[in-house]
Structures are given as structure tokens and as C-alpha cells.
């Protein structure tokens, strides 16, 4: 069986084990919420392969989010895909799939109305970049399978619930193309996307990569379906070939099903 599959399976099992005490606890009251999300991002990418040039542009993310919250804890799942374009010397194209972003947060009541959730998250994201004007049809990728702490702070306000989220990777695996790769052979077959994205996985912590995400928004008012938030994301990979991504997003979630 492919080694990357074994790695991911091991990481997920460890994560589930970490969350098991909470998962198995009996909750008095819990609410479930499914929503679709739409995010528009201003992106900045500085990839070593691009000779020091920063490509800036926009992308769109579509996804699904699930939240189960109770007096004791919050469990979330999110999956999404994104596509977009950026520019510098020529155009760049960006594709991303995030099949897994899961979080388990233990709840602490700060006051009668304010809550803090703290716990681990685990996330897997594939990112592919193309720069047809600068790099012909060559494919560049950046895959992360990461885990770390996430804090969510909630407090009610007139318009709904203010929710502030801060997460940071602690450790995980990352994959990047091998430096100085200038092969003449490149393919747009799906298998190549998958094989490349899962190749050359290296384990590391802050010495290898760091992913910080900050979200601040207005979660929905009772009886309403929509919520709005701002998301700041920093993603850096520090080994050769290095890449840094800084993104700003506006995200809208729309609850589906009963409210």
C-alpha cells in the first residue's frame, strides 16, 4: 500500500484517539449545523521556483462545513475546493482540494455567555500551481497534512454570535516538488495530480513549515441562515524550494437543512 496512505491513516487514527474521551462522553444537549461555504480570497504566493516573483490574485472556494456543538465540546468538519488565478510576469493558475479539516474543541465557559473551545485540529490540503507563461505546462504543488491546536472564542451580540478562531500547525507532513526539477515531461492526467501531490512527503514542525489561520466573524443569529467572516491565512514552507502564501478572505456560510 502506498506509504502516503499509511501516513494519513495513522495520523487520523491518532487524532481520533486524542478526541475519543470527548467523543464518547454523553452530551446533555447538542446542536448540529450543516452549511455550504463560499469564500473569495486575495492571494499572494512567493514560490522559489518563480525567481523571487510574487504572484497576486483572487480565488474562489466552495465547500461544506459541519458543526456539532454541545455544553462539553464542539466538533467540526470542513471540506472544500478552490480555484483561481494570479498574476505577475504572466498568469498563474491555482487549484486546491481540502478533503479534511476536522477539529475537536473542549468547551470552557469564561462567563455565562462567553465560551472558549480549545483542542486539536487535523487538516489535509492539496494545492497545485501552474504558471503557463513562466513555466510552460510544469506543475508545482504544495501538500500539507498537519495537526495543531485551535482556539475558538464565542460570545453573543445583538446580530448573532461573534466567533474568533485561531489555529496554528504544530507538526505534520508536507510535499513540494524536488528542487531543480526541469523535466520536459508533464501531464495533466488526474493520476499525476494525485501522485505528485503525495510524493516526497517530509515530516516536520516549525523548522519545515508553518500554517497560521485567523478567522473573525459574525456567526448566525438564531433563525437566520447566513454568517460572514474574515479569514487571514499565512502558510510558509522553509526548506528548498521554499514557498510563502499570505491570503485574505471573506467567507460566507449558508446553513442548509432545518434551522
Amino acid at each position: 500500500m502506498k506509504s502516503w496512505f499509511v501516513l494519513y491513516k495513522t495520523a487520523i487514527l491518532l487524532y481520533v484517539a486524542l478526541c475519543a474521551p470527548g467523543l464518547s462522553a454523553q452530551d446533555s444537549v447538542s446542536t448540529n449545523e450543516s452549511s455550504v461555504l463560499f469564500k473569495t480570497r486575495f492571494t499572494q504566493v512567493k514560490d522559489d521556483f518563480n525567481y523571487g516573483l510574487v504572484f497576486r490574485g483572487m480565488d474562489i472556494t466552495l465547500g461544506y462545513a459541519f458543526i456539532k456543538s454541545s455544553d462539553q465540546a464542539m466538533i467540526t468538519y470542513q471540506g472544500s475546493f478552490a480555484f483561481g488565478k494570479n498574476y505577475n510576469s504572466g498568469v498563474g493558475e491555482y487549484w486546491s482540494i481540502k478533503p479534511l479539516d476536522s477539529y475537536y474543541g473542549y468547551r470552557t465557559r469564561i462567563s455565562r455567555k462567553k465560551s472558549l473551545y480549545a483542542g486539536p485540529f487535523i487538516a489535509l490540503q492539496y494545492r497545485w500551481h501552474f504558471y503557463p507563461d513562466l513555466q510552460s505546462g510544469h506543475m508545482f504543488w504544495f501538500t500539507t497534512m498537519e495537526a495543531g491546536p485551535r482556539l475558538i472564542f464565542e460570545m453573543p451580540c445583538k446580530s448573532g454570535n461573534i466567533r474568533i478562531t485561531l489555529s496554528n500547525s504544530l507538526a505534520g507532513w508536507a510535499s513540494r516538488p524536488v528542487p531543480m526539477t526541469e523535466t520536459t515531461f508533464y501531464s495533466l492526467k488526474f493520476r499525476e495530480f494525485a501522485d505528485n501531490g503525495n510524493s516526497n512527503l517530509r515530516f516536520g514542525s516549525f523548522n519545515r513549515f508553518n500554517h497560521t489561520e485567523f478567522e473573525a466573524g459574525l456567526a448566525r443569529k438564531k433563525g437566520k441562515r447566513s454568517s460572514l467572516s474574515y479569514v487571514f491565512e499565512y502558510l510558509g514552507y522553509y526548506c528548498e524550494p521554499a514557498i510563502i502564501m499570505i491570503n485574505h478572505s471573506i467567507q460566507i456560510k449558508w446553513i442548509i437543512g432545518e434551522i
Binding site: 446580530s159 531543480m180 526541469e182 515531461f185
Partner: protein, 367 residues
């Protein structure tokens, strides 16, 4: 609540402004410091401009202008040889490019032309007027008429095969994406768009067929044979010549090498096929290879056996995608090599007419 929203908006704008400033483009080139050649034990003879009767200060100014020319930002290296000696070298992106390999793309065709000459010299190719049916059998099953194409047609880009380099529908794109199973059969299965020997049509299909038939005749990979009969004899070792998935050496664009190694090919050609006094490929072949065989539709250049000819400068040159060049100016005993970021497309490539003004300036300061 309104003030909270205003504060939040202000914070977001501030964060946007800060992060925009955090990520900036790096300078496109390293600072220009020197063009003094370095001894790295690769067999090149080193000298300096003054010793070779060149205006050193003027050459320095040319290099400074090259570094500052925004049109030439994809350039990676500029090397000047006079009288067979390296008088100046500069690496604009990375000093390690002195030994780092990069693709030279279609300059591979000009290298292939030299190797074809060795093949003629050694009898692997009996006569370049041979039809390719003397070399291909099952490959011609789909269209026996292609058997009448000669090797001369192939090396002068006059095969008449309807092959296109560019665009997603082009055949080179298919080969780069490893779509066809066998390169020779794929190319020979294409229709004609002209009769052979009639019109010049530059494309990758012709040299791919030359490489294929050579490999078939040799019974071994062309790159291996070329290593023995050519590259080793010009002390060229830091290179890689890639093969297609069917095992055939890519004759149109598969060589990865360094600027100094690539320069050895040009120096050998400039010296009528000799390397340090030893005849590597016959002078007669070099003469034919560098003589006008046909006119092209590009900048008034003519074409020999894969080598480009600029009659106004009495110059022969090798030309690869993105801005890989080796210019041979026999009247001035000059060889000028430039390499560039290899994968640029369209307007981001360095064009030959953007480089030629600097070639002219180097000619003018060489006495």
C-alpha cells in the same frame, strides 16, 4: 455595533496593507560584480578581454547594460569566447549556474546536426540523400509514401510533414505530455502538408525522426553513442540527454547542460569540427552544415543543417526556446553564449532580436 464593524474593517485593511508589503518581488538579477572567468577544471582555456584584443571597459559596460535591460530579465548567463578562450562569464540569477544544468531546448537540434555529421563520417548514415525507408520499416506501415523523405529533407526542415510545435493541439505538446506510445510512428503517421524538399517548415518532428533512425541503425540509445563519439571528445561531461518513454533519445529538445558545456559544442563547430587540435567531426560536414541550404521566414535568416545563418553578420547560431543561444562569428573569432529561464512562453521569452544589439556591440569592441 457600528463602531465595532468600523474597527474590524480598519483592522482588516491594515492587515491587508501590511501583508501586501511583507511579500515583495526579489530583484530579478544578482548584482553585477565581475565577469572574470573562473577555473573549474572543465577544460576551457581562460583569458581576459585585453589579452584577446577586446576593449575591456566597453565589455564591462555591455554586461552592466544587459543586467539592467528589463527586456532581458529572463537571462541566466552571458559568456564570451574569443580565439577559443573564455574571456568573460556572468550568471545573472544564481552563481551556481556555472555548474547547474538547465534545458537548452531546441539548441539540441544543432547538437544533433553535429552528431549526424559524425554518423555520416563513420558510415552509420551512408548518405544524407538516403530515403528514410532505408532506416525505418514498420514505422512506415501506416504511410509508405513517407519513405521517400530523405535525411537531407529532415535536417533542412523540408520533410513536408504536418507537425506543429506550439499550442495545446500541437504535436510537441502531446509528446511532452507523453501521449503517443512511439515517437517515430506517431510523427510518421501525421499527414503531409507539403511535398518533401519543397518548403521550409521548422518543427520538432524532423529532428525527432533523425534521432529515431540513428538510434535504430545503431541498435543502442543515441545519447550513449553520442557520449562516446562526441561529448567525451570535447570534454563535455556535465549534461543529460533525455529519452522518451519508448527509449528513443529526444532529438529535438532533450539536452540539459551548463552554459560552459554547451559552449564547447559551439567552439568545436567554430573550429571546423576540431577540439584542441583533434578532428572530432569532419570539416566538410561542418562546412555543409553551416552553409545556406534553404531560406526561412524568420528575420531574413537562412538555414543549414539545423543551424541558423545570419548572412548580414556572417554569423551561425544555435537557437533554443526561451532565449538559449550560441552565436559563432568567425570574422571576429567570437563565440557568444547566452542561456535563459527555459520555460517562458510568448512575450516572456527572450527573442533573438533582443539579444542581437548586444552581440553587435561585442563585435564592435573586438579588434
Amino acid at each position: 455595533m457600528k463602531s465595532y464593524a468600523q474597527i474590524a474593517a480598519a483592522c482588516i485593511l491594515l492587515l491587508l496593507a501590511i501583508s501586501y508589503g511583507c511579500l515583495k518581488d526579489d530583484p530579478l538579477n544578482l548584482p553585477f560584480k565581475s565577469f572574470e572567468p573562473r577555473e573549474i577544471g572543465d577544460g576551457h582555456k581562460l583569458s581576459d578581454p585585453a589579452a584577446e584584443n577586446m576593449d575591456q571597459d566597453a565589455l564591462m559596460e555591455i554586461y552592466r547594460d544587459v543586467y539592467e535591460d528589463e527586456n532581458l530579465w529572463p537571462l541566466r548567463s552571458v559568456l564570451v569566447f574569443r580565439n577559443g578562450k573564455l574571456v568573460s562569464e556572468a550568471y545573472l540569477k544564481d552563481e551556481n549556474d556555472i555548474t547547474n544544468r538547465h534545458l537548452i531546448w531546441s539548441c539540441t537540434k544543432q547538437v544533433l546536426a553535429v552528431i549526424a555529421g559524425i554518423a555520416v563520417d563513420s558510415g552509420v548514415i551512408v548518405d544524407i540523400n538516403d530515403p528514410i525507408s532505408d532506416y525505418f520499416n514498420e514505422e512506415l506501415a501506416g504511410d509508405p509514401a513517407k519513405g521517400f523523405i530523405t535525411i537531407r529533407n529532415l535536417v533542412t526542415m523540408q520533410s513536408g510533414i504536418d507537425y506543429h510545435n506550439d499550442g495545446e493541439d500541437g504535436q510537441t505538446d502531446k509528446i511532452l505530455r507523453q501521449v503517443p506510445d512511439h515517437v517515430a510512428e506517431y510523427i510518421l503517421g501525421l499527414p503531409f502538408n507539403n511535398s518533401q524538399g519543397n518548403a521550409w517548415d521548422y518543427h520538432d518532428g524532423n529532428p525527432m525522426l533523425v534521432a529515431s533512425l540513428l538510434q535504430k541503425k545503431l541498435g543502442r540509445p543515441l545519447d550513449e553513442w553520442a557520449g562516446e563519439v562526441f561529448f567525451s571528445r570535447i570534454e563535455m561531461s556535465n549534461y543529460r540527454w533525455m529519452r522518451y518513454k519508448d527509449g528513443v533519445t529526444l532529438g529535438a529538445f532533450g539536452i540539459e547542460t551548463t552554459p560552459r558545456e554547451f559552449a564547447k559544442v559551439a567552439l568545436c563547430v567554430a573550429d571546423s569540427g576540431r577540439w584542441k587540435g583533434s578532428q572530432v567531426v569532419s570539416a566538410a560536414w561542418i562546412k555543409d552544415m553551416l552553409s545556406t541550404q534553404i531560406y526561412t521566414d524568420r528575420f531574413g535568416f537562412t538555414f543549414g543543417y539545423y543551424w541558423w545563418i545570419d548572412s548580414t553578420r556572417n554569423m551561425r547560431f544555435s537557437w533554443g526556446h526561451g532565449g538559449q543561444f550560441a552565436f559563432i562569428l568567425p570574422d571576429k573569432a567570437l563565440v557568444i553564449v547566452t542561456t535563459s529561464i527555459p520555460n517562458t512562453q510568448g512575450e516572456y521569452q527572450i527573442k533573438v532580436d533582443e539579444v542581437l544589439p548586444y552581440v553587435d556591440r561585442i563585435i564592435d569592441i573586438s579588434y
